[in-house]
Amino acid sequence: MGHEETVYDALDHAHGGEGQWAFGTGFDEPLAGVDTTVPDGVDPADLGAYCLMLGDDALVLAQRLTEWVTASPELEEEVAVANIALDLLGQARLLLARAGSVGVLGRSRARATASIPDEDALAYFRDPDEFRNTGLVAAPNGDFGRTMVRLLVAATVRLAVLAELRRSRDPVLAAIAAKGVNEVAYHRDHAARWVLRLGDGTPESHRRVQAGAVEVWPLLADVFSPTDVEHRLTAAGVAVDPSTVRGEVVEVLTAVLGQATLQVPEWPAGTVPRGRLGEHGPELTELLGTLQGLARQHPAATW
C-alpha cells in the first residue's frame, strides 16, 4: 500500500526529477542567458553564415537519422540512433539560434510570424537554396550499412572541426564546440563499431557495407573546400578551415576501414563547396518538404 502511494507521490512531485527529462520541461530559448556579443573585428554576417553551415549539417543529418526510428535492426539501435539525432538536433538549435542572435535570418524572418523563435524561422522558413549544409549529410540513407558509413564519415569530419573550434575567439561557438566534441566522439565511435561488425561479419554484410562506402566516398569531394566566409573567419581566429582537417579524417577513416577488412575507396578530388553555397540536389528539397510542411501550413501558429 505504502509503496503505491510513494509512486503516486513521486509522480505528483515529478518536478524534483526534471534532470531525467532530456530537455527539461522549461521553455528556454537555446541561448537564454548567454552573452551573444560578437568578438571585435568579426563581421556578424560571416559569423552567422558560418553558424548556418555547421547548424544545417547537424539539422539535416539529425533528420536523416530520425528516419531510422521504428525501422532499426535492434531496440538498442533505436535508442542509439535517436540519441545521436537528439544530440545533433541540440547542436543545430544552438547554432541556428547563434546565427539569429547576430541577425543572420535571411528571408526567413519575413516569412515567419514574430512569435516564432529565430531557430524555427531558420529551420522552417528558409528555402533549400538558403541552406548551407554539405551534400554528405543530405544524401539519402540507403541501407543500414550505408547509413553507418555516412555517419562515420560525417562524424569524423565534424569531430575534427569541433575539436579545433573549441579555441574559437567567439566564446559562444567555442562553448557549443566543447559540448559537441563529447557527443560527436560518441557518434563516431558508435558508427565505427558498426562498420567493424558489418565489414568483418558475414560475406553479405561485407559486400553491403563496402558498397555503402563506395557510394559515400564521392560525397567527400566538397567537404574540405573552404568558402570565402571560412577563409575570413579562420584568419580572424573564429572558424576552422575544413582543408586543415583532411589529414586527420583520412587517417581515421583509413584505420577504421582497414580494421573492418574493407577497401578504402578512391579519395575524390576537391571541388567547389556547392552545398555551402546553397546548391543542392532534389534530395534536400524533399527532406525539407517533410520537415517544414506542417509549420508552413500554419504560419501564424505557435507550438
Partner: protein, 320 residues
C-alpha cells in the same frame, strides 16, 4: 523409482505453500524462486504484451518525428519515442527473467500470436494527436501501471517504477502541447477538439473489458499480478480526466458524462465493446500497417543482426 516421484509431489506441495505465503504476505517473487507454471505463463503473456505495446506505440507518434512543427517539439517527441524503445527493452528483459526470449516474443508479435494494446491501431492524422496521446493515452497507461509497481513479480514491479516516472513526463508534455495549441489559432483549437473526440472512447477501452467479462482478472488479482479491476481503474481515469479537460477547454464526447452526487464520481456512457473487439482482433484502422513496419524492421535488417552475431562469435573466440 516411485519414492522420488512421491518426494517430488511433496516438494511441489511445499513449494506451492511457500509461494502462496510469499504472495499472501505481499512480498515479491524473484526470478530464482519457484513459481507455479500458470503464474509464469500469465506473467510472460502480460509482460510481453506490455513490451509489444511500447514498441508498437512508437509508431503512431513516430509518424510525426520528421514533421514536428518546431525544433523544440521535435526534440521532445524524439526523446519520448526513444523512452518508449527503452521501456520495451526493460520489459522484454523482465520477460527474459522468466525464461522467455526477446527474438521469439518479437516473432510472436509479428505473426499476431501475441497482442499489444489496441489503442495503437488508431491513426494520427494531425499534430494534436501527439498531444492527446500524451495526455489521454499516457494518462490511462499511468492509471493502469502505477499499481503494477506493486506487482508480486519483482523484475516487473521494478521496471514499472521507472516506466511510470517517465510516462508522467510524457503526459505533462502532451498536456502542455495541447495547452499551447488551445492558446493558438482557431484551426489549432479545432485540431485539439477533433483529436479529443477521436481518442476519448478508445482511451477508456485501454482498461480492458468490463469486470464481468474479464476471464483472467480474478486469477491475476489472486496472484498479486494485478491489483485493481479494470472497471476500478477506468473509473479512476475518468475522474482524473474530467477536470483536466475543463482546464484545457475541450469537451469530452460523452453526453452522459456527469458527476454522481451520491458517490462524487463521474458517470459515463456505454462503451462500444464491439469496436474494441474488432480492433483487438486485427480489424482496426492501422493494425496491418503497425505489424508490417515491425516486420520490415526485423526482415530488412536481418543481415545486420546476423553479421553482428557472427562478428561477436569471431571475436569472442579470438579473445578466449
Amino acid at each position: 523409482m516411485s519414492a522420488p516421484a512421491l518426494d517430488r509431489t511433496l516438494d511441489e506441495a511445499s513449494l506451492q505453500a511457500h509461494f502462496d505465503g510469499v504472495i499472501a504476505a505481499g512480498h515479491r517473487i524473484e526470478p530464482r524462486d519457484w513459481m507455479p507454471e500458470g503464474y509464469r505463463k500469465t506473467l510472460i503473456r502480460q509482460i510481453a504484451q506490455h513490451a509489444h505495446s511500447e514498441i508498437i506505440g512508437m509508431q503512431p507518434e513516430g509518424d510525426w518525428l520528421l514533421a514536428a512543427p518546431s525544433l523544440r517539439r521535435k526534440a521532445i517527441l524524439l526523446a519520448k519515442v526513444q523512452d518508449e524503445a527503452g521501456h520495451g527493452m526493460y520489459l522484454y528483459s523482465a520477460a527474459e527473467t522468466l525464461g522467455a526470449d526477446r527474438a521469439d516474443l518479437t516473432d510472436k508479435l509479428i505473426e499476431s500470436r501475441q497482442k499489444y494494446s489496441s489503442i495503437f491501431n488508431y491513426p494520427t492524422p494531425t499534430y494534436a494527436d501527439v498531444g492527446v496521446i500524451g495526455w489521454l493515452v499516457d494518462g490511462a497507461a499511468i492509471c493502469n501501471q502505477v499499481p503494477l509497481c506493486r506487482s508480486s513479480y519483482g523484475p516487473y514491479a521494478r521496471a514499472m517504477i521507472r516506466v511510470c516516472k517517465e510516462e508522467s513526463f510524457h503526459q505533462r508534455q502532451g498536456y502542455e502541447l495541447l495547452m499551447t495549441m488551445m492558446r493558438g489559432t482557431p484551426e489549432q483549437r479545432a485540431m485539439v477538439q477533433d483529436a479529443v473526440d477521436r481518442w476519448w472512447w478508445p482511451s477508456l477501452m485501454m482498461f480492458g473489458p468490463p469486470d464481468d467479462d474479464s476471464p483472467n482478472s480474478a486469477q491475476s488479482m489472486a496472484w498479486g499480478i494485478k491489483r485493481h479491476t479494470n472497471d476500478e481503474l477506468r473509473q479512476r481515469y475518468v475522474d482524473m480526466s474530467v477536470p483536466q479537460a475543463e482546464a484545457l477547454g475541450v469537451t469530452l464526447p460523452d453526453p452522459e458524462l456527469a458527476p454522481d452526487p451520491q458517490t462524487g464520481r463521474y458517470r459515463f456512457g456505454a462503451i462500444d465493446w464491439d469496436e474494441f473487439k474488432q480492433v483487438i482482433s486485427g480489424n482496426g484502422p492501422a493494425n496491418a500497417e503497425r505489424i508490417r513496419r515491425r516486420r520490415a524492421a526485423r526482415d530488412d535488417n536481418a543481415w545486420v543482426t546476423e553479421a553482428a552475431t557472427v562478428y561477436a562469435h569471431k571475436h569472442a573466440a579470438v579473445s578466449a
